[in-house]
Symmetry: C2
Subunit: 427 residues, 2 copies
C-alpha cells in the first residue's frame, strides 16, 4: 500500500493567480523523499465552505495525511485553523504562553521595520494566531504564525491535518518540527521508499517516444512514467518502489540505445549540467544580451557560488549600448541590423573581451509582440557562444508570447553551451 | 446565485513541482472577466482514478462549469479525454477528418524541426489525439492536440467539462472557441458581472489593517476582501458584484484616509507604475547589478515596448567587472568593500553614464547562502537610484533564501524608483 498525502493551498491570492504557489511543489518533493506520494494539490480561496469541502474530499479518498498551507494570518479572511479544528471535531482555546511568544515576535518585527502600531488591533491579531485546537501539537512560529498538527478527535476517523503558514520561508523552517510530530511520525512509519529518476532528451518528438514505451510496456511493470515536453526538451520522469529498480534500469538502457543522439542527461537539469561544467573546468563566462534583457545572466547566477564562474553580463538593449558598452561595430549594426548572426557574434565576443572571460554568449532577437517585419518576424532570434574549444551559433524562429520567446532563447543558449562544454546531442 | 467554475490541472510534472502551473491562474482571471468565480483549482497526476475522483468532487459541489488542462498528448499517460468521456457517460470514436488535420500538423512540425519519425508510432499517437467523445464539440488544435467541450450524456446531470491542452500557448489560443461553444455559452448566460479592485500598501503591518477592517466591517457587506503580504507589500484585493460598488467606494475612502502614508497604488502593480512613469516622462534607465545578477534588467524589460526607456544594464558580478565595465574606482572597492553604499552609488552612476541614461540603478549585496560575515551577514544589500530629480538609497537587512533576497532587492529598487518618479509613500 502506497502512503498518500493531499495538499491544500489556501488563499484567494493563489486561486486567482496573483501569487504563484511555491509550497505545493516543495511539499510534494519533500514528501516523496519520505516515501509519501501526493495525490492531489487543491487550491481554494479564503472561504470556509470551500475549505471544509476540500478536507472532506481528501479524507474520503483514503488519504493518509493532509497538509494545509496558508490562512494563518491575523486578518479575518485567514481561517484555516478554525476550519481544520471543526473538521477534526475539536474546540479551540487561546494558548497563553504562545500568545506571549507571538506578541514578542510581532513587537520585534515592528520595531525593526519602524512601523507604527495600534496596540489593540495588534493584540487581537496575536490572540487569533495563538488560538489552538485542544489536543493539537503546536509548531513554534518561524515568522509570526504558529503551525499545528491536528489529529481527528477521539471517536472520529480520518487523517491528521498538518496546518502550515503560507510564506515559503516560514513553512520550510517549520517543516522539520511537523515531520517530528507524533501523528505525522506514525503515518511516515508506514511509508516505503519512493525513487524518482529523470531522463532528458533534446530533439525527440513525444509521439516517437510514445511508440517506444508502448513497445516495451510489458517490461515496465511497477514504473510510473510521465513524459513532459517543454521548450523543446522531452523529460521522462519515472517513480518506482525499490523492487522495480531492474525495470527502471531496463527502461534507461533502451532509451540510452535508441535515443543516443538526443539523450543529453540521465539526471541533472540543463542549468546544472552547464554550471557544473563551467565550475569543473574553471571556465569563466560573460553574457551580452539584447532581447532577453538579462534573463540569461539571472539564470546563470541563480545558484550559490556562481561568482566562481560568472564574471558578469551586459544587457545591451539600445543599439547605442551595443556599440558603446560591448564594442559592436556601428558598421555591422548598419549593414546587418541589430537582429543578425553577425551582431549575435559581436555581442558574444564583446562580452567575453569586456569582462575578460573565457566564454562569451550573445543573444539578439525580436521578442515581440511588436517590432517584427516580413524579413525578420517576431520570434527571430540569433544566439552565439564563443568558447575556448570553438564557437557555435543558431538562428531561431520561435513561436509564442514575448516571455516564451525570451525563455526559449535563453534555453537555446544553454544548450549551445552544454554541447560546446560537454559534447553530446547537438543543440 | 454566483456562477462557479472548477479547474482541474492534470500532469504529474505539475503535481511534483517540476513544471509550474501557468494555466489555472490564467483561466481564473479569464473566467472572472466573464463573471464566473473559480472555487477550486485541483492539481492531479496522470492517474485515471485521481482524475475521476476530482471530476466527481467538483460536480458534487454544484459547480456550473469544469475546465481541465493537460493530458491530451500522444503518450499513454495522457488520458484526460477518455476519463472525461466516461465521467459524462459518453463513448468515444476516432474522428477521421480530425485525424487527418492533426496528422498534417504533426508532419509539418517534424519537417520544420528536421526530426526523425517512425510513421507507425506517430500515426498511433495522432489516432489517440483524434479520438472524440460522441456529442462533444471539438476545439480545433492550435498545437497538435484538439480540445473538447463535453456535456453530460442525456439523462445525466452535472456541469459541462471543457477539455484543454496543457501548453499555455495552445490553451490560450483555443480559449475563444471554448467560450463560444454552446454548452459554455449557456453557462455564461447566467453569469453576472464580477468586479475586482486592488489597493496596495507599502509599510503597513497586516495586523494593523485587520483592525481597521474589523472596525468598519458592518459597512463592507457584499465585498469579498482578501489581504496578502508579500515582499513587504500589503495587497488588498476585493471582489464584488456591481450592487456592492458603494461599499467598495467606502472601503477605498477609509483606506485612503487612514493609510495615506503607505497607500502607493489604487490599482496598478509596482512594475506598471514604474515603467509607465518612465514612459510618460520620456526618461531612460540603465542598471548596474551585482547580487541580483540581471533580475532587475529582466524585470524592466518584461513588458513590450520597454526599449523606449530601457537602454540596458550591466551585471557586474566580479569586482574586476565593476571596475572595468562600470568604472567603479578600485579605491572605493578597496576601502568600503564591494557590498557598501559607496559601491551601490558608483554602480548606479556608472550604469547611468556608461549607457548615457537619465536614471541609473545600482544594487550590490550578499544573496547567500555563503559569503556572509559578522559585519556584513547574508541579506546585506545596498540599493541606490540616481535620477534627474535627485538620488536615494537604502541599506537592507533581508531574510530568507538566495532567491528571496534577490527578488526583494529588486522590489526595493523599484520602490525607490517609484518614489523618486511619482512621490507617494517612502520606499
Amino acid at each position: 500500500m502506497v502512503t498518500r498525502a493531499g495538499i491544500v493551498v489556501t488563499g484567494t491570492e493563489v486561486l486567482t493567480g496573483r501569487v504563484p504557489d511555491r509550497n505545493g511543489p516543495w511539499l510534494a518533493e519533500e514528501l516523496r523523499r519520505l516515501g509519501v506520494d501526493v495525490g492531489h494539490v487543491v487550491v481554494v480561496g479564503d472561504r470556509p465552505d470551500d475549505l471544509r469541502a476540500t478536507l472532506a474530499f481528501l479524507g474520503g479518498l483514503g488519504t493518509d495525511l493532509v497538509i494545509t498551507t496558508g490562512g494563518l494570518g491575523p486578518t479575518a479572511d485567514d481561517l484555516t485553523a478554525q476550519v481544520v479544528a471543526a473538521h477534526q471535531g475539536r474546540s479551540s482555546a487561546v494558548d497563553a504562553g504562545l500568545e506571549q511568544r507571538v506578541a514578542a515576535v510581532v513587537e520585534r518585527l515592528m520595531a525593526r521595520r519602524g512601523w507604527r502600531s495600534d496596540p489593540e488591533a495588534t493584540a487581537a491579531g496575536v490572540r487569533k494566531q495563538a488560538t489552538v485546537p485542544e489536543g493539537a501539537t503546536v509548531l513554534e512560529p518561524v515568522g509570526t504564525a504558529p503551525g499545528l498538527v491536528v489529529p481527528p478527535a477521539d471517536g472520529r476517523t480520518g487523517p491528521p491535518v498538518v496546518v502550515l503558514p503560507g510564506p515559503p520561508g516560514e513553512l520550510r523552517g517549520m517543516w522539520p518540527d511537523a515531520v517530528a510530530a507524533a501523528p505525522v511520525r506514525a503515518v511516515l512509519a508506514g511509508a516505503g521508499e519512493l525513487r524518482q529518476e529523470t531522463l532528458r532528451l533534446w530533439g525527440t518528438l513525444e509521439a516517437q517516444l510514445a511508440g517506444t514505451l508502448r513497445e516495451i510496456e510489458p517490461e515496465l511493470a511497477g514504473l510510473e512514467i510521465t513524459t513532459c515536453l517543454r521548450e523543446g526538451e522531452l523529460e521522462i520522469v519515472t517513480r518506482f518502489a525499490p523492487d522495480a529498480q531492474p525495470a527502471y534500469d531496463r527502461l534507461a538502457t533502451v532509451i540510452g540505445q535508441r535515443y543516443a543522439d538526443t539523450l543529453f542527461s540521465t539526471g541533472p537539469a540543463l542549468d546544472e549540467l552547464v554550471v557544473s561544467a563551467l565550475a569543473d573546468r574553471g571556465l569563466t563566462i560573460a553574457t551580452g544580451e539584447s532581447c532577453t534583457g538579462g534573463l540569461l545572466a539571472a539564470r546563470l547566477t541563480e545558484r550559490a557560488g556562481s561568482s566562481a564562474y560568472v564574471l558578469g553580463g551586459v544587457t545591451a538593449y539600445a543599439d547605442s549600448a551595443k556599440e558603446q558598452v560591448l564594442g559592436v561595430p556601428a558598421a555591422v549594426l548598419a549593414e546587418h541590423g541589430a537582429v543578425s548572426p553577425e551582431v549575435a557574434r559581436a555581442l558574444a565576443e564583446g562580452a567575453r573581451d569586456r569582462f575578460g572571460a573565457a566564454i562569451g554568449v550573445g543573444i539578439t532577437g525580436i521578442a515581440g509582440p511588436g517590432g517584427g517585419t516580413a524579413a525578420k518576424p517576431v520570434g527571430t532570434v540569433h544566439v552565439c557562444v564563443v568558447a575556448p574549444d570553438g564557437a557555435d551559433q543558431r538562428a531561431l524562429a520561435l513561436f509564442g508570447s514575448r516571455s516564451a520567446v525570451r525563455e526559449r532563447s535563453v534555453t537555446m543558449a544553454l544548450h549551445l553551451l552544454r554541447q560546446l562544454l560537454l559534447g553530446g546531442p547537438p543543440a
